[in-house]
């Protein structure tokens, strides 16, 4: 799937998504799973709050010295026998990746889950040039079969249910017995494992992203649960890492701080199953591992965000907590946002990367409830930055039609009482939960954010609408 945006049609996309009963049904999994799991993991680590502060400082420090850390990192990768390539934009990044594949005569390329390769539209480009890219993360594999983009940054197929996946497998895996039983979720997993195992062993090049790059040692890190990223990078002759400039951290100690936040915020795990540190190619005496190791470092608009009002966004570690807690995302899913980064982080990042002309509507996709900021492990002030975009949009567009269109979004959400009620109910529930566990209101994370942007009454446990319904005995 290429990274061609449809964010201009956000309003239509969103209306269509809300009307899609199957989609809204499937999206319940986001609310039901991610929120409680994260909360449990956070409660079990008393240091979570101070770690957020620590991680924020580490990233701020890194960004303020990014040129120097990048130089250190680059020198370290070369020392360990790896190659470093720089790409200003998506086209350069695609070309470098293609050239590396061509040089080794690659026919198939396995891929670990990577938002950056989605951002640059790598798969479509490789395909157009006669190289077959194979996504190996189960969710990415499923959406690749469907020709779709991911709808969530860590759960790319969260918009689909088991039956939809089963029919895709039957449609594509035609070499298998048509009468086979795929009613259990485990049989779907087992089938994908067997099909992809062959692809792993046959691939000429493996391409992964990186969750972090470490300046101290020239190391790239991937974090996965399936183990697909590891098979992608250890089996083929060549391992290519594609990562954007802000993935940098100074030291192993620094990345350890942030790793404590990542899995907890993403899936509620204390650590994901596989956190893998890779430094250069196969060493003398090694019996496995890639013979070549390349890193493609992508800018694509990020260097211009430094030093400005959107710099904080470069702290993002792509944990997805903001979208998992976003009432708008819960209702419309990821595809409606029209580009690969959905939810609050996408509403801030997308206009920076592809421009306000394309994505100027996204910062309106918010009820300004403040949940995203309160759960963001990197303390990114997402609502504030969405407001910055709106202000810019407003100043830029004295064109009344466009301004009206922007304002139309308030009406769009206000006219959907279900969505509005849901977002306020969620806010109340969270406040109560937190209030109960800590006792003191002033300490509550998130409340600050809410009251900054919204005029919320002190919660009495229920919203007015919920009370009204209960007292009337209706549903």
């Amino acid at each position: 799937m290429s990274a061609h945006p449809t964010s201009r049609q956000f309003k239509d996309n969103a209306s269509r998504a809300i009307a899609d009963k199957q989609l809204t049904g499937n999206l319940k999994a986001v609310r039901q799973n991610f929120i409680d799991k994260r909360l449990k993991a956070v409660k079990e680590l008393p240091e979570f709050e101070v770690l957020r502060e620590s991680a924020k400082e580490i990233k701020n420090h890194t960004l303020a010295h990014l040129d120097l850390y990048l130089e250190k990192y680059e020198a370290k990768v070369r020392e360990s026998g790896g190659h470093v390539h720089f790409a200003r934009d998506a086209a350069e990044a695609r070309q470098i990746a293609l050239d590396i594949c061509r040089k080794v005569g690659a026919k198939t390329v396995t891929k670990g889950k990577s938002m950056i390769t989605e951002e640059v539209g790598l798969n479509a480009y490789l395909e157009a040039n006669g190289i077959v890219p194979v996504e190996t993360d189960l969710g990415e594999y499923i959406i690749q079969l469907r020709g779709e983009a991911p709808s969530h940054i860590i759960a790319p197929a969260v918009h689909l249910n088991k039956n939809q996946i089963e029919s895709d497998f039957r449609r594509v895996h035609t070499h298998l017995d048509p009468a086979r039983d795929l009613t259990e979720k485990t049989s779907l997993l087992t089938e994908a494992r067997a099909v992809l195992r062959e692809r792993f062993l046959a691939a000429d090049v493996g391409i992964t992203g990186a969750n972090f790059l470490i300046a101290e040692t020239g190391t790239s890190i991937i974090v996965t649960n399936e183990g697909n990223g590891d098979l992608t990078q250890i089996l083929p002759k060549v391992h290519v890492v594609m990562a954007s400039i802000e993935k940098m951290v100074p030291t192993l100690e620094d990345v350890s701080q942030i790793l404590r936040l990542l899995a907890r915020s993403a899936t509620g795990q204390e650590m994901s199953c596989y956190t893998t540190f890779s430094t250069g190619p196969r060493r003398p005496g090694d019996v496995d591992g890639p013979e070549e190791y390349h890193v493609i470092i992508l800018d694509n608009g990020r260097s211009a965000m430094l030093g400005g009002e959107f710099q904080d966004m470069l702290r993002c570690i792509r944990c997805a907590a903001c979208m998992n807690h976003c009432p708008v995302y819960h209702q419309i899913g990821g595809h409606a946002y029209g580009w690969i980064y959905p939810g609050p982080m996408g509403s801030v990042l997308t206009p920076s990367l592809i421009g306000v002309d394309e994505a100027g509507h996204l910062p309106n996709a918010s009820t300004f409830c403040g949940r995203c900021e309160s759960v963001c492990p990197m303390k990114i002030p997402l609502p504030k930055m969405m407001r910055h975009w709106r202000e810019r949009e407003f100043e830029r567009n004295l064109n009344p039609a466009v301004a009206r269109y922007g304002l139309g979004f308030w009406a769009f959400f206000a006219k959907r009482p279900k969505l509005y009620a849901f977002s306020t109910r969620l806010a109340m529930k969270a406040m109560k939960l937190l209030g109960r566990s800590k006792g003191s209101f002033s300490m509550l994370l998130g409340v600050g954010a809410w009251t900054k942007y919204r005029d919320f009454a002190v919660p009495e446990g229920e919203t007015f609408q919920a009370k009204w319904k209960r007292e009337r005995g209706g549903k």
Partner: protein, 224 residues
């Protein structure tokens, strides 16, 4: 290529309003890389060895890994044979040439032992861990012919030997050990931090074990 590199660095420096040759900035960066200051270390990991071991075992259970405690390394082959038998698995095992595994009484068991990396056709493999982290129940394995990385991912059943004396409390405690062994600023090609068996939540957010990596993870903790 160098054009892209130069223009990215120029753009970063323009945005940060720096030239890149400021002594103070360079000093700050050198100092951080040199000192590698520790941040916040969870108190749960700052306990004595016995409690660390208890914590590790509890965390292993929490990620659906199993374990057995052994008095000494000589008991490893029999423990492997037991594990495979009790799970109805064939009596085969692949390993690297780690001397800590090579010198064991394998011939006293009925196990068929093979050596070297996996080509994807091995059901069972055994590796020796470099260390483990009690805080999260994480095993730390390093690459090399002693313990080939393919053994960590291709076989269905992965058995990992841990010397209890290699157990540390927190993630940060791994790094001084590796620096001592490999040199400051150096890393083995791959460091795998493994926390439980392979899993996926991609079908309706239901966690299923055995995605692409091992379906089972079994840890042999050697205490003597």
């Amino acid at each position: 290529m160098t054009e892209a590199r130069d223009s990215i660095f120029a753009s970063i420096r323009r945005s940060l309003a720096v030239k890149g040759d400021e002594r103070i900035r360079a000093g700050i960066v050198e100092d951080r890389l040199d000192r590698a200051p520790k941040g916040i270390i969870p108190t749960r990991a700052q306990v004595d060895h016995g409690e660390k071991l208890e914590l590790l075992l509890k965390k292993l259970e929490g990620v659906q890994a199993t374990f057995a405690r052994l008095e000494n390394a000589a008991k490893i082959p029999a423990a492997v044979a037991d594990y495979l038998r009790s799970n109805n698995l064939p009596a085969t095992i692949r390993k690297g040439d780690d001397p800590r595994l090579a010198g064991l009484p394998w011939s006293e068991t009925a196990l068929e032992v093979s050596d070297g990396r996996s080509d994807g056709h091995d059901l069972n493999a055994i590796s020796h861990a470099e260390a483990a982290i009690a805080e999260t129940g994480t095993l730390v394995l390093t690459s090399g012919h002693e313990n080939p990385t393919t053994l960590n991912f291709l076989p269905d059943n992965h058995i990992v030997v841990l010397n209890a004396s290699d157990l540390v409390g927190d993630l940060e405690a791994i790094w001084p050990r590796l620096r001592k062994k490999f040199g400051k600023g150096e890393m083995p090609r791959t460091v795998n931090c493994i926390t439980g068996a392979s899993r996926s939540g991609d079908i309706e957010q239901t966690i299923l074990l055995g995605a692409h990596g091992p379906r089972r993870l079994h840890v042999l903790v050697v205490e003597g």
